[in-house]
């Protein structure tokens, strides 16, 4: 049965979605979704030892071996992202019941949870697939389901935002498809490893180069890499709070995952000069993303939008680490994906819980709420410290690794260091502004007094996970190191 885990990882949430549509009452649909998500998380945990080291798990679907059939491939890199996705979904569902109930009409909760499971299955499916076209199919499942989740809230501003996301996401997916088509013209195959073995014998590199361009731009649109981030701030700000927490933790990172996987497996080794192009394009973009994201976060006055802009910047850190194309840079980027998912997920769950009491999304509506709900506010503070990168948190560790990777550079290290340090200072500013609003003004007189206890406990637990993984980082470190090995092809 263990050998079937890669497919079960996808099929379990996928096939539960139709059941959830039919189940009544809505509370049961939530319970079933949570149970399914927990099971997916458990499967991902069980995959850690199976996929460790050099031994990637290969699963040919239908018994048809690649390149003729579609195969799934699970290595440390995929496991890291499987953990991020299924973990984010599980903890957000656990903490989010009240919050979702307050934002989604009860009669529609079945559809909502069905879409949630499909988003989960789609994201997981992208990560384990080893087939370039199959990745497109699952990308579309994940995207369509995310559009539904985002548009689900009471805020009408979500609608234009999600339409923009739909347009840009579809353009991104279609660009990706054009790239896959060009690769197919030149190699006649779709399996990523098989393309990698056939590419060296392709004499003419021009179509492959153009394919690389299309795939990179398409995925950059989906990953909201600066300057293609225009859809992100509004969708994150106006989505239901728990949806923001789930998507902010994993969805853009999955596009980055596909970008890295394809670029490192196919283009870096087979295109002359591509390594340089990769660096020259991405490092400046990453730096601009980091600075612009932090700057916009300082200026915004909507609580969720501040941290949505901060996500634009944090994606920049991940890209910066990856664009260094060194083992240490990649390790830092992957570890940062993990620590950022943890911190940002906690942050948005915390904001979502406090928002049960706040009148609007404006920062001023949160005034004094930290005094009334100290536990939730402590969790938010810890998550914020991890985002800034204060020693003792998971965020510090990944930023520290990133700085070390930058110091290995022969030239230009100083400029990049300045960018990282400056943006960290800016993030202190916007975090301080948010915490100040939470703690310093007196608590508002009216309103309910208690937050849901269970949800607050979950929130505190994941906040302390940021500290735990900052002090005892063995598990994510090992995964990230092995994943960097996977990408650079050591032992492949």
């Amino acid at each position: 049965m263990l050998s079937h885990l890669p497919i079960l990882q996808i099929v379990v949430p996928m096939l539960m979605a139709p059941f959830v549509l039919l189940i009544q009452p809505a509370r049961l649909a939530w319970a079933l979704t949570l149970a399914t998500s927990t099971l997916a998380f458990a499967i991902a945990i069980n995959l850690i030892p199976l996929a460790a080291g050099d031994s990637a798990m290969i699963y040919p679907i239908g018994g048809w071996d690649a390149p003729y059939g579609i195969e799934l491939k699970v290595d440390s890199l995929s496991v890291l992202f499987l953990l991020i996705i299924s973990g984010a979904s599980t903890f957000v569902l656990l903490a989010g019941y009240q919050s979702l109930g307050s934002e989604i009409h009860e009669a529609k909760l079945n559809w909502f949870f069905g879409a949630w499971l499909l988003a989960l299955a789609g994201l997981l499916g992208i990560v384990v697939s080893a087939d370039a076209f199959n990745i497109f199919v699952f990308m579309e499942i994940a995207s369509l389901a995310s559009y539904i989740l985002i548009a689900g809230g009471p805020n009408r501003q979500a609608l234009p935002a999600v339409f923009k996301y739909l347009i840009m996401g579809t353009i991104g997916a279609t660009f990706y498809l054009i790239g896959v088509g060009l690769i197919y013209i030149m190699t006649g195959t779709l399996n990523i490893s098989d393309i990698a073995t056939k590419l060296p014998s392709v004499v003419d590199q021009t179509p492959i180069l153009v394919a690389a361009g299309f795939i990179s731009i398409g995925l950059a649109l989906k990953a909201a890499i600066f300057p293609m981030h225009a859809w992100l701030p509004n969708t994150y700000s106006f989505a239901p709070n728990m949806v923001t927490a789930f998507l902010a933790a994993c969805s853009t990172k999955i596009a980055i995952y596909v970008l890295l996987r394809i670029d490192f497996a196919l283009f870096q080794s087979n295109l002359t000069g591509h390594l340089l192009q990769f660096k020259v394009f991405l490092i400046p973009l990453a730096c601009m993303a980091i600075l612009a994201g932090a700057y916009m976060a300082m200026r915004d006055s909507l609580a969720k939008k501040i941290f949505a802009w901060s996500s634009v910047g944090q994606v920049g850190y991940i890209i910066l680490g990856a664009a260094l194309v060194s083992h240490s840079g990649l390790t830092a980027a992957l570890l940062h994906s993990f620590s950022h998912a943890l911190a940002k997920g906690t942050m948005f769950i915390g904001i979502g819980l406090l928002a049960l009491q706040a009148k609007s999304g404006e920062l001023s509506s949160f005034a004094g709420l930290g005094r009334r709900h100290p536990l939730a506010a402590i969790a938010i503070t810890i998550a914020g410290l991890s985002l800034v990168g204060i020693p003792g948190t998971a965020g510090f560790l990944s930023k520290w690794l990133l700085i070390q990777a930058i110091l290995e550079l022969p030239t230009g290290a100083v400029a990049l260091l300045v960018v990282v340090l400056l943006s960290s200072l800016m993030s202190v500013v916007y975090l301080a502004r948010f915490l100040e609003t939470l703690f310093f003004p007196p608590a508002p007189a009216e309103g309910k007094v208690t937050l849901p206890l269970g949800a607050t406990a979950i929130l505190l637990a994941i906040a302390f996970a940021s500290i735990y993984f900052g002090l005892a980082p063995t598990l994510p470190m090992e995964l990230a190191t092995q994943a960097a090995d996977n990408l650079l092809g050591y032992g492949a």
């Binding site: 369509l144 609608l159 579809t170 088509g181």
Partner: protein
């Protein structure tokens, strides 16, 4: 045959660009969605063009034709899937546009923005 070769490619590029232009430059949301499906149709044409083999037929074994040359079935299968993905995206997009129309009373993007700023 060389004429047809370039022609297919040019048509693909022309359609792709018309669709792309409509998506980014038009103000009306329905029009942008139509542009999006045009954009996707162009890619379908690219793939089906790849599949064509000179002198081949539809990849179905029959007794009617005694040729053994078939066009490439794989890109055709991929496009079958992609067409379905395309209509799904359009349907969802239309539902969102309907809701936008109800919430803002317009489907022109700049009017939505100006109403947003007033509110």
């Amino acid at each position: 045959m060389i004429v047809l070769d370039l022609f297919h490619y040019w048509t693909f590029i022309a359609l792709l660009m018309m669709g792309f232009y409509t998506v980014i430059a038009k103000n009306n949301l329905v029009k942008r969605l139509l542009g999006l499906s045009l954009f996707q149709s162009a890619v379908f044409l690219l793939f089906i063009g790849i599949a064509k083999v000179e002198g081949g037929t539809t990849p179905i074994f029959t007794n009617l034709v005694d040729t053994q040359v078939f066009s490439n079935p794989l890109p055709q299968v991929l496009i079958l899937t992609a067409i379905v993905v395309g209509i799904s995206t359009s349907a969802l997009g239309l539902a969102i546009i309907l809701r936008i129309k109800e919430a803002y009373g317009t489907i022109e993007e700049d009017e939505i923005q100006s109403e947003e700023e007033e509110a």
